[in-house]
Amino acid sequence: MMAAADLPLWAAVPVALLLLLGSGLALIGSIGLMRLGGFYDRVHAPAVVSTLGIGSVLLGSMLYFSVLQTRFVLHEILIGAFVVLTTPVTLMLLTRAALYRDRRDGSDEVPPLPDPPPRDE
């Protein structure tokens, strides 16, 4: 088992940069959750973390483990595919629940339900 100290410099620098970029984006996404106003604006912030944030960390992990050759690197691709496919579903579910609630309360912040289309006689 090799440790992080065995990582050559040419690989350690990009790994560190990718981890910093990924965690920086995660921080920005969290700041966005706090700073943006209203539910529908806030729902945009996690998308930053779940795309480029996760992507950078996974890329760094791929580089680290393939240089040290302790593990097959395809795991990260699978993690990326799972995150990219599942996060939008959660976001959409939350947004639709909020829209349903706001429409029921008659909020003027959201567009009302369109009238049903005219029936063909």
Binding site: L25, I28, G29, I31, G32, R35, L36, G38, Y40, D41, V43, H44, A45, A47, V48, S50, T51, L52, R71, F72, L74, H75, L78, V84, L85, T87, P88, V89, L91, M92, T95, R96, L99, V110, P111, P114, P116, P117
Partner: protein, 172 residues
């Protein structure tokens, strides 16, 4: 065969996924993965998935279609990079980052294939700055929430010309 393996491609993908997760090609992993893949096929039958357009295996893997898929994935990657930058600037309130307000846009769609619509929903929601909110099947319109909206016409054009056209080539 059709009753045992109603979705052969899905079963093959699940078996491959299992072997990758196990990091092993041992007979035990193979047998367990095959059992899981066949069992998941039954689950998908019970879910009564809507049928997509009838395509043979050769049509699914036609070189033109694979090229179109690669072009779509490349466009999604570029758009994700671009909009990550834009949304990060808005969150950090950098000067000049935000030109509009957030708001809803109603976008009329021509696509009716349920899998194409699902792909469009995932692309738009995974891209920071846009969230797919609602789809009205009777009218064929979808509701999109945009974080930084300058004008609605522009977003209708982006969704229709950039994504819907490519997805219709793939799914319809």
């Amino acid at each position: 065969m059709r009753r045992l393996l109603p979705y052969p491609l899905l079963a093959a993908a699940l078996l491959l996924l299992w072997l990758l997760l196990q990091e092993s090609l041992s007979p035990a992993a193979f047998v367990l993965g095959s059992v899981l893949a066949v069992a998941c096929g039954f689950v998908f039958v019970a879910l009564r998935l809507p049928r997509s357009g009838s395509r043979t295996l050769a049509m699914r893997f036609a070189p033109g279609r694979l090229m179109a898929l690669a072009a779509l994935l490349r466009d999604v990657a570029v758009e994700v990079l671009r909009s990550n930058n834009a949304v990060a600037r808005i969150i950090l309130q950098l000067p000049g980052a935000r030109s509009g307000r957030s708001g809803f846009v109603v976008i009329p769609l021509d696509m009716r294939d349920p899998y194409g619509l699902a792909a469009l929903a995932c692309i738009l929601t995974a891209t920071p700055g846009t969230v797919w909110v609602d789809y009205n099947a009777a009218r064929g319109t979808m509701l999109l929430h945009v974080l930084d909206m300058i004008d609605e016409e522009q977003w209708v054009r982006i969704v229709k010309d950039k994504w819907e056209r490519q997805l219709m080539n793939l799914f319809e």
